[in-house]
């Protein structure tokens, strides 16, 4: 079985190389490789994952190790229930994205590199979730950053794609330093880089509350960057110029999900470091609210979804911060399903309309019936409508935070209360922005805008539903979105330790009432505005943090760089002048030799050898 895991990691990389190598030969080759490898990966992932769900023994295997200085760096795998769930999520979404891309990316001359990068992305995520060695995890972790950089800049002719890609890479890579130093610190501390060993020792050994705060905080920094949490949350919405299937991949199953996964993987470490949990809780409380407000006011469909991802990830971190491990992981899985669905559906809309601006959409209900049905289910799950999966997992999170606020001990009570208030307010805002987006895309008559793309003309007689390759993934994703709630009701299927259900009846009823009330208010506002944007177009200022980074980091660095360049030039010229006198003597000698004749060259060598001889004699 361990060889299957290795194969599962290697396969996407092989398929990527093949895509680049023979992908230009023809359509059959390029598509066959990409989709075939993804399908095979899905099958293998299922084969690996199913036996390791529930109370099965985790699979551990070490393939190779360096016998270098310090703890060994190993090619080691560890597949437990968490890895199994993540494998299922990642490979399902990756496979569906590859199928979907057949239709979405049809005719794109850069398809081979696109398909290759999606494969590498999948392979990297597989490495992250199965690796038992921290360095191997770091490799997957940063390779994902590189893949997302290349995929966001897929349309490199667009300035916003170029800028967004650079921003994403730099922000996440800066945060990745946290992971690098955490690994180094853990290695010094435990004399091992094996995750299962380290976590086992923490879980059993008697570590005090103050022993492990440093690596835990360092990991928190890495996670905040990767999962786009405050104050590093601004890269994710700016990553939207990438192709929409990529957004589905990044938001649902890979990149940002890896942050949540890492906290879950290193959970014993976090549990033993309350300061890291408290930080995480505060970050989550701030992020979910800010992101939801941003989603409420943006006029771009993909940015609404991007901000909603940031906000939903904060829910997961909130749950993990108060000790609700299962709730956090289940919300990650549920979010993976419905966010993939939403992004792919949004892609279908964009495919038809040719723009991501919601004001150019509207009235698409009849024109795109399949997209309408599936996206409605997706928005419902996001907003937390009974009985879709989002309702159950969000309720599990809020219920856990509720309990933590009342009798929790992991974080300070006021932090838990803050988190609870933020979670409830954000749930309300989520309903509002989901409903607004849904109404504006499918019902509001479109505002005629001078959009360059011909497909977006007001008549839009040529508006068409997407091809089958795009519709099938949408319908497939509705299955977990509708039925996923069962996993919350009966969590024992996935988590061995959990006997009881994770449904909290009190909060569930309260939240349902809140959802209904919010929906009613938004609907009335929408009607009042004559079926247009329910609140007047109100543009939020650009995130203030970006301004801080610009003034505090980017500009000083640029200034310094210019100073260094100018300084170096002055010094070089100064040397040239100052050393001129001394150089001139030597230079004369060298000019003699410069005619390239061998005698002169030999002379230099001989003179040098004599100098050595004399000097050596003096020393002796």
């Amino acid at each position: 079985m361990s060889w299957v895991v290795l194969l599962l990691v290697v396969l996407p990389f092989v398929s990527a190389v093949l895509s680049l190598w023979v992908g230009h030969r023809g359509e059959v080759a390029e598509r066959g490789i990409a989709v075939g490898a993804a399908a095979l990966g899905f099958v293998l992932a299922v084969a690996v994952a199913l036996p390791h769900l529930g109370d099965a023994e985790p699979l551990s295997h070490v393939f190779a190790a360096t016998s270098a200085v310090g703890p060994p760096i190993e090619l080691a795998f560890h597949v437990d229930q968490l890895s199994a769930l993540m494998l299922l999520l990642a490979h399902t979404v990756a496979f569906l994205v590859q199928v979907y891309s057949l239709g979405y990316m049809a005719g794109d001359p850069r398809y081979p590199s696109y398909a290759a990068l999606v494969s590498v992305f999948t392979g990297s995520m597989t490495l992250v979730v199965t690796a038992d060695d921290l360095w191997a995890l770091l490799i997957g972790w940063e390779l994902m950053g590189a893949c997302s950089y290349f995929l966001i800049s897929h349309h490199w002719e667009l300035p916003e794609a170029r800028a967004g890609a650079v921003k994403a890479f730099l922000m996440t890579r800066t945060a990745d330093l946290g992971l690098l130093f955490a690994i180094i610190v853990l290695g010094v501390r435990f004399d091992s880089y094996r995750i299962s060993t380290i976590m086992g020792e923490i879980a059993t050994g008697g570590f005090g509350r103050d022993d492990l705060w440093l690596p835990a905080l360092l990991l928190t920094a890495a996670v905040v960057g990767k999962s786009a949490q405050f104050p590093l949350h601004t890269w994710l919405p700016d990553a939207m110029p990438g192709p929409t299937p990529i957004s589905a991949l990044i938001h649902a199953a890979t990149m940002v999900a890896a942050g949540v996964f890492l906290v879950a993987r290193a959970y014993p470490l976090f549990l033993s470091a309350p300061v890291a949990l408290t930080t995480l809780a505060l970050v989550a409380a701030v992020t979910m609210f800010i992101a939801a407000v941003s989603a409420l006011f943006t006029g771009d469909l993909k940015r609404v979804l991007a901000w909603s991802t940031v906000s939903q990830l904060a829910y997961m971190f909130g749950a993990l911060a108060v000790g609700a491990y299962e709730a956090g992981v289940l919300h990650l899985l549920a979010h993976g399903a419905f966010k993939a669905l939403l992004f792919l559906a949004a892609g279908s809309v964009v495919h038809a309309v040719g723009t991501t601006s919601m004001s150019a959409m509207g009235g698409l209900r009849g024109k795109l019936p399949d997209t309408f049905i599936t996206m409605t289910i997706g928005f419902g799950a996001l907003a937390g409508v009974v009985p879709l999966v989002g309702f159950f997992t969000k309720d599990a999170v809020i219920g856990a935070v509720w309990e933590a606020a009342h009798e929790g001990h992991l974080v300070w009570p006021w932090v838990a209360w803050l988190l609870l208030v933020s979670a409830v307010v954000t749930a309300v805002l989520t309903v509002a922005y989901s409903l607004r987006a849904w109404l504006m895309v499918f019902f509001t008559p479109p505002v005629v805008e001078p959009v360059e793309t011909p497909a977006a003309t007001p008549e839009r007689a040529d508006l068409h539903e997407s091809p089958l390759s795009m519709k099938v993934p949408l319908y497939l994703l509705t299955i977990p979105t509708v039925l996923g709630g069962l996993l919350v009701a009966y969590p024992g299927v996935a988590f061995a330790e959990v006997e009881h259900t994770l449904v909290h009846p009190t909060t569930a009823v309260l939240m349902t009432l809140l959802v209904a009330a919010t929906a009613a208010v938004v609907y009335l506002l929408w009607r009042r505005h004559g079926g247009r944007d329910p609140w007047h177009p109100f543009v939020l200022p650009h995130p203030a943090v970006d301004r801080v980074y610009d003034v505090g980091v980017v500009r000083p660095v640029r200034l310094l760089a210019r100073a260094v360049r100018a300084g170096d030039r002055d010094v070089i010229d100064g040397y040239a002048d100052g050393a001129g006198a001394t150089t001139r003597g030597l230079g004369w000698l060298l000019r003699r030799a410069q005619n390239g004749n061998v005698q002169a060259y030999l002379m230099v060598v001989v003179v040098g050898a004599c100098a050595i001889a004399v000097a050596a004699g003096v020393a002796a």
């Binding site: 360096t66 360049r565 040239a576 001889a613 000097a615």
Partner: protein
């Protein structure tokens, strides 16, 4: 047998240089001979490393080394040996030389009119440099190291001043002369340092020095300081780097490749082999060297951010990378030595590839000015992709070779040798890590301006290359060359392929290099923790 192998590794390139010189009237024949020589040297080095790498024993053992008295009066020995540390660098060097000479077969440097320029003599000089470099890596006698060091330097001066930037003869001469003045001065200081070591330790044999010499006292400190100064010029260490950007950017493509990939390693190798054994970690000198290395990391990255020329940018990036190497050595730990050697090898592969690519870009578009290069993704997608790959490797993406050396250097700096201040080194480690981010920033900036661009100018087609559109008319002559060679051609694949493949291989399986280097470091510098 081992003696034959060791001597042969120096004799082979020297002999083939002679052979090529004899036929240098006929350019192609000379280059052909030189390529054969470089390939033979590479094969020979593989054999040697496999043989000596598998056998146990210390570096200076009689059956693993050559020891012939050269000048008895001066206690000068022809003393060669090889272990995992030098083996790694020898293999990297012979590979890079083979690639560089092979590239001359098709892409020799052009003169201002686009004609060929005495490629045969260039190939001869490259082989002479190779002999000098390999001799330096194998030398166990300090003075012999110095001699080979000089042998490698002087032909390089000819390479830069004769075959350098065809459009600016004065600048290339100035760059060449500055290169020579700096490095010759540096190696003279180093030689004085060696003589002082001889006075203290009683031998020029570095294996014996490493085994038995305990440096202490002002003379030993002065010796260590002088050796460090000489090597700091060569490596280069900030602020003695200022000869480097000009030399690297004015040299012909093969010259830049050899300078960056191989010649800088003489300095870093010298730090590990000839500086660490004669230095005590208790001296203030050690943290000062580490600090200068870290200054170089940040300084080099900042300089890169403001560069307007691709070759200068790659040159400055070397300053940063070499900073990591010296930082590793200056921790005086086995892990640090490992980091230094790994980073040296990785830098050789990656920066070699980057300079090859810069040269190919210059061949095609007649310039390396970043203000004029645009849209390479659209015009030459394969080359653009390769550049992106090399840039990612150079900025230290995990999974590629560039990552391990820098990461291990940072790790070594977090826990330096006893006697060194942990606080100092941890701060240095942190600042060095910030340098990694800056490196990402400048490479992304280059990729954004050089590879990507607005669609108006783009001609995103694989086979047809429309370079005329994006360039001013006075470059048309140069562009003509670009037209002739659309994207990466077969010769370039052969030249660059091994470098790229090894970059991936070492990134995925760092143990290939880490294990032998660790064993060798343990045997050579046994006292380190």
């Amino acid at each position: 047998m081992n003696a034959v192998l060791l001597n042969g590794l120096v004799a082979l390139p020297a002999g083939f240089a002679l052979l090529a010189a004899l036929v240098s009237r006929r350019e192609r024949a000379a280059v052909g001979v030189a390529v054969v020589g470089a390939l033979a040297t590479f094969a020979w080095s593989v054999w040697l490393v496999l043989r000596l790498g598998s056998a146990g024993g210390a570096l200076g053992d009689p059956d693993r080394s050559v020891d012939v008295v050269w000048l008895e009066a001066l206690d000068l020995h022809w003393r060669l040996g090889l272990d995992g540390i030098s083996g790694a660098l020898v293999l990297m060097s012979t590979l890079v030389f083979a690639a560089a000479l092979f590239s001359l077969l098709r892409h020799g440097p052009d003169d201002a009119e686009g004609g060929p320029r005495r490629t045969g003599s260039l190939a001869v000089l490259l082989l002479v440099i190779e002999a000098g470099v390999l001799g330096s890596f194998l030398a166990l006698d300090m003075v012999l190291f110095f001699v080979f060091f000089e042998v490698a330097l002087i032909p390089m001066w000819f390479v830069i001043s004769t075959w350098g930037d065809a459009h600016d003869a004065a600048a290339r001469r100035r760059a060449a002369t500055r290169f020579l003045v700096f490095t010759v001065t540096g190696s003279a200081l180093m030689l004085v340092g060696f003589l002082l070591v001889r006075a203290e330790a009683g031998t020029f044999d570095i294996a014996r020095v490493a085994a038995s010499y305990t440096p202490s006292g002002p003379t030993a400190l002065a010796a260590s300081l002088l050796v460090a100064l000489g090597l700091a010029v060569k490596t280069p260490l900030w602020p003695l780097h200022i000869w480097l950007p000009d030399a690297h950017s004015k040299a012909p493509t093969v010259g830049s490749v050899v300078l960056a990939a191989v010649l800088l390693k003489l300095g870093t190798y010298g730090f590990v082999r000839f500086w660490m054994p004669v230095t005590s970690p208790d001296w203030l000198l050690v943290p000062v060297v580490a600090a200068l290395a870290v200054v170089g990391i940040v300084y080099g990255a900042l300089a890169c951010l403001a560069q307007a020329d691709l070759k200068r940018l790659i040159a400055y990036s070397s300053v940063g990378h070499m900073g990591f190497v010296v930082l590793g050595a200056a921790t005086f730990t086995l892990g640090g030595v490992q980091a230094a050697v790994f980073a040296s090898v990785a830098h050789g592969l990656i920066t070699g590839l980057l300079f090859f690519l810069a040269g190919a870009i210059k061949d095609r578009y007649g310039t390396t000015d970043l203000a004029e290069l645009r849209l390479l993704y659209g015009k030459v997608p394969r080359m653009g992709g390769l550049f992106a790959f090399a840039a990612m490797a150079s900025l230290g993406l995990p999974g590629l070779a560039g990552f391990w050396g820098e990461m291990l250097a940072i790790r070594a700096a977090v826990s330096p040798a006893a006697g060194l201040s942990e606080t100092t080194y941890r701060w240095l480690a942190f600042i060095a890590a910030l340098g990694v981010i800056l490196a990402s920033a400048y490479f992304l900036a280059v990729m954004r301006s050089m590879l990507q661009g607005p669609a108006v100018e783009a001609t995103p087609s694989v086979d047809h290359v429309d370079v005329g559109a994006a360039l001013p008319t006075d470059r048309v002559a140069a562009v003509r060359l670009g037209d002739r060679r659309p994207d990466v051609d077969a010769g370039e694949w052969v030249t660059w392929g091994p470098l790229a493949v090894l970059t991936v291989a070492l990134g995925v399986a760092p143990g290939l290099l880490l294990t032998p280097v660790a064993d060798a470091a343990r045997a050579f510098l046994g006292g380190l923790g």
